[in-house]
């Protein structure tokens, strides 16, 4: 803890950072009991709005709140400008990589990445090989997880190119701050994030297949109210003014997709799906899926519908593929990556595996296709027995894992029961790619590990969120 960079106070002894001037003054001036009252108020408001998520495996399936922390995370305009360039560069590369892996595979022929990362990857969807989705866009919505270890040291921790979630919290957290502390936001000149739904709608509309009769039909496809992110699905559909549909609301006829309405079938051109590839079409993927739409893949391959994100992007955000991203960026753009990767050991390689097995107590080990903070080992926070069990898993299937050093993630002041304390944070900005290029809303979702010293920020594991400010 002691050797972590603090977003407000800098390194130990270096003195407070200018970016947090307003926030620090506000924290100094506001009596602690007022902050606690506001915190309770925020929780009440979130619950009333129904901004909840459900946790898989929870016996009662109850809806829970993601804890919201009042103290914002602040980035200066200059810091953000660099992040934005890096994010755009990275997402352009993710799109180029997906397009290439399904059409031509030049990157494999050039020997930049090993072919088995593709051929043996369960996320590589053979069914769509050779298909170019409408307007050539694969990764329409990306969530890039960033971590910070020093004033100028930002790293990409993970690429999320399938169905990244959390953007509703970015928007709702800002609404909450505006409601609770309007003066503070005004004083600090915070860049707005509320344009996200418009940008998303514009992105989706821009990739609609050409059709000459009527407006593009756009829908958000959800697995339903029991899904942990259902609130977000309905929130986005609502903000965009498009239908929120479940699989059973759609059907395919003559390779075209329709939704069942009270006035008969209506054509669907773009599906923003929040369902994994495997469940999209029971005729091609998992036959037991009741969430999908039979025949959807055929309509997609016929070019009659755009699916965002495209089918098969999981191959690009695989954590083993991640370790090659600097090379991937260089291959497609000729540039060096603006945002570096965290050093990564690929357990599929014998030397790397040997190193990882020797250093497990100090490493973080993750499954290549895992998410949500599940199935990972945080070495420094694990017991000997846990490490031994994990070592066995590693030896049994090394290709399923990567390992990274335990980073000293930056901390941010956070309102805890006992007052303001530093807690580790990360940042997930949301990057949109449409037919007319890449856009990023200034900000993102800051996730905070509420347990002292913990590095796991996932909401499913007790993490909270903060409003993220880009100022000046």
């Amino acid at each position: 803890m002691a050797d972590s960079f603090d977003e407000m106070n800098g390194w130990a002894g270096s003195g407070p950072r200018a970016a947090y001037g307003d926030v620090r003054r506000w924290l100094d001036e506001t009596p602690p009991e007022i902050l606690q009252t506001r915190r309770a108020q925020a929780e009440l408001l979130f619950r009333r709005t129904g901004i909840t998520f459900s946790v898989y495996g929870d016996a009662d399936g109850a809806e829970r709140l993601i804890p919201f922390d009042l103290v914002p995370r602040v980035l200066t305009g200059t810091e953000w400008a660099r992040l934005e360039r890096g994010l755009i560069q990275r997402v352009e590369a993710l799109n180029a990589l997906s397009a290439d892996l399904y059409n031509g595979q030049e990157i494999l022929r050039a020997g930049v990445i090993p072919p088995e990362l593709v051929s043996l990857n369960p996320q590589y969807q053979l069914a769509v090989a050779g298909h170019v989705p409408p307007k050539g866009v694969f990764v329409h919505i990306a969530g890039i997880d960033l971590v910070r270890t020093g004033p100028d040291d930002f790293y990409v921790l993970e690429d999320n190119a399938r169905t990244p979630s959390g953007v509703s919290y970015m928007l709702e957290n800002r609404e909450m701050m505006l409601r609770l502390f309007p003066d503070l936001l005004q004083r600090s000149q915070v860049a707005p994030v509320e344009t996200y739904p418009d940008l998303l709608l514009e992105t989706l509309r821009s990739v609609a297949p050409e059709r000459h009769d009527g407006d593009a039909g756009i829908v958000v496809l959800t697995p339903g109210p029991h899904n942990s992110a259902f609130y977000e699905h309905s929130f986005l559909a609502d903000k965009m003014g498009v239908e929120l549909v479940e699989g059973a609301d759609l059907f395919v006829r003559d390779d075209r997709v329709f939704m069942r309405t009270t006035e008969g079938p209506r054509r669907v051109d773009v599906i923003y799906r929040r369902i994994d590839d495997a469940y999209l079409d029971p005729l091609f993927f998992r036959p037991d899926s009741t969430l999908g739409v039979p025949g959807l893949l055929t309509a997609y391959l016929a070019g009659n519908v755009a699916i965002a994100n495209a089918i098969g992007t999981g191959v690009a955000d695989d954590k083993a593929m991640y370790s090659y991203m600097p090379e991937v960026i260089r291959f497609y753009s000729g540039q060096e990556a603006i945002l570096p990767n965290v050093p990564t050991w690929r357990c599929r390689e014998a030397e790397h595996l040997a190193y990882v097995l020797d250093h497990l107590p100090e490493l973080v080990v993750k499954e290549v296709d895992g998410s949500g903070g599940y199935g990972m080992l945080v070495g420094p926070h694990s017991t000997k027995a846990q490490i031994e069990i994990f070592a066995q898993k590693l030896r049994a299937g090394p290709e399923r894992f990567i390992a990274q050093p335990t980073l000293a993630l930056s901390t941010c002041p956070t309102l805890c029961d006992s007052g303001i304390e530093p807690r580790h944070v990360d940042l997930r900005p949301f990057v949109l790619t449409g037919a007319r290029g890449v856009k990023v809303v200034p900000g993102g979702l800051t996730r905070v590990a509420l347990t002292p010293g913990s590095l796991v920020v996932n909401s499913s594991q007790g993490g909270g969120t903060k409003d993220t400010w880009v100022t000046g």
Binding site: R48, T49, G50, Y231, S234, E246, R260, T261, T262, E263
Partner: protein, 313 residues
């Protein structure tokens, strides 16, 4: 509009209306049951309330003794009673949550907020005071939901389907109340004003919040045949069968306008409306009030099926 969305909105409307009806029923029944029997107090009042909600069998199956202490919690918070106020609100909220985007934020927040308040009432031994609070909470919540829907929702299919469910349920509730109490409403020669049945009639009127309305409409003491007339034929009275069907026909017209189609639901509703307009209370008494109510309930159920058929639920 998605057929599933339409169906969920329809049921949100229905369940909220049912919750509201049971609230008023519980209130009015408690009042009637608490009167000394010499003043018309009715020990069987709670059995009547169970019958009016259509859960008499479910209560009997629970094996509990027929008493306010058992029936009131059964009607209000018992999770085992599919039509308890709590379950109605939970279902309304569940349906609304699935189609959250079809409601305005204000309408949704009122419903969701009410649900979280009701969640705090639990346990089989709900005290009389707590039961009263629950009933009051839900009544206010339904009013707040209706008000926010009325003030904030677009007048489009979402709004019409919500109202359609509410109007159908309202018609059903009034009809079932009449079905249980019809024997009290038959005309007879009795000294006016002295009847112990006054309290029964007043209870019926309270259950449809029409005790004051009755006096404004008839400017007369409470007479049973006029109570029946008010609940069946009076188009000023929003819970009368005639009002509900005027509203249903209008709503189905709105819904049909979008597609330019008239379907089985439109035809069924118009037929029932026509039937109500072409008879009167005297004719109904002459041919049998009970039979009339039974036919109406069957017709209203038929309309439910026709709505599902027409809008592809």
């Amino acid at each position: 509009m998605l057929s599933r969305t339409a169906a969920d909105l329809f049921w949100t409307g229905r369940y909220l209306e049912r919750a509201d009806f049971i609230c008023r029923l519980v209130d009015a029944t408690a009042r009637l049951a608490s009167l000394p029997s010499t003043y018309g107090g009715d020990p069987t009042a709670w059995a009547g309330a169970l019958a009016a909600v259509g859960v008499a069998d479910a209560f009997a199956a629970s094996g509990a003794e027929m008493s306010e202490a058992n029936v009131a919690p059964f009607l209000t918070i018992d999770p085992a009673n599919p039509s308890s106020i709590r379950n109605c609100l939970e279902r309304a909220r569940g349906n609304a949550r699935a189609v959250r985007t079809a409601l305005t934020l204000e309408a949704w927040e009122n419903l969701n907020g009410a649900w979280h308040e009701v969640e705090r009432f639990s346990g089989p031994n709900l005290s009389r005071a707590r039961a009263g609070e629950l009933v009051e909470t839900v009544r206010r919540a339904v009013l707040a939901f209706d008000g926010s829907a009325h003030r904030t929702m677009l007048r489009d299919d979402a709004y019409w389907f919500l109202q359609l469910g509410a109007a159908m349920e309202r018609a059903d509730n009034t009809a079932r109340l009449l079905d249980v109490k019809y024997h009290l409403l038959l005309p007879r020669d009795e000294p006016v004003g002295g009847s112990l049945d006054y309290f029964q009639w007043a209870t019926i009127l309270r259950t449809v919040s029409a005790l004051t309305a009755y006096r404004w409409v008839y400017r007369d003491t409470v007479k049973p045949w006029l109570v029946a007339d008010l609940l069946i034929f009076n188009t000023q009275m929003p819970r009368s069968l005639a009002s509900c069907y005027d509203e249903l026909v209008e709503l189905l017209d709105h819904l049909g306008r979008g597609s330019g189609r008239r379907g089985p639901a439109t035809r069924t509703a118009s037929a029932v409306q026509h039937g109500l307009r072409n008879t009167n209370i005297e004719a109904v008494f002459a041919s049998g009030l009970h039979e009339f109510i039974g036919r109406f309930i069957a017709d209203n159920n038929k309309l439910g099926s026709a709505v599902a058929e027409q809008f592809l639920f």
